[in-house]
Amino acid sequence: MSDEKKSFSLPMANPEAAAAAARTRAEGGDILSEIDKEVSENNVVLYMKGLPDSPMCGFSARASAILQSYGIPFFAVNILADQEKREGVKVYSKWPTIPQVYIGGEFLGGSDILNEMHESGELAQAIKAAFGQ
């Protein structure tokens, strides 16, 4: 077994250790580790084009408006300002489009799924659960 495989299997066997090991690039981690840290440390994360006050794409604007309608804090990341993260987040989730929403550390989906879950009431449930309500 290679060392690479060993080091990969250890954090998988212990999710808490994996979260603890997640590091930003500034802390010496790679881009996937940084994304892992962002989605594990924030209840709701939105990777978008632009920012909530100045969205640069209709889908991102809609996703941001939906999340804002719940009156909860969410962590918004402008991927247009970070080319490495723009590509990294697609690899992280194996999802080819942006925006991307993460709730409670889990990938929820893109703007179509967010919209459907908003309309069905499932998003309200997921947000409540993520905030421990």
Partner: protein, 82 residues
């Protein structure tokens, strides 16, 4: 840019029973709304359904398609939605 018929063909190649409609939203052949109805979606989560379609359009998603909004249904769900 990609023609709507090419999108339909790509998806049907990957999901043979799929009924597919591709609507050009902007007239520029790169912003599309795509509706896919297939028995293959039965029992799959939303994420898995969307991934099936994205995988079928893997090459096109890199450049030809700039924006894609997806609606995916099983035949039963499609009937209920009408």
């Amino acid at each position: 840019m990609i023609e709507p018929d090419a999108i339909v063909a790509k998806i049907q190649a990957a999901i043979p029973d799929a009924i597919v409609e591709a609507h050009d939203l902007t007239g520029t052949r790169d912003h599309y709304e795509v509706i896919v109805i297939s028995q293959a979606f039965e029992g799959l989560t939303r994420i898995k359904r969307h991934r099936l379609v994205y995988e079928a359009l893997h090459e096109e998603m890199k450049a030809a398609i700039h924006a894609l909004t997806l609606q995916v249904y099983t035949p039963t769900q499609w009937e209920q939605a009408q």
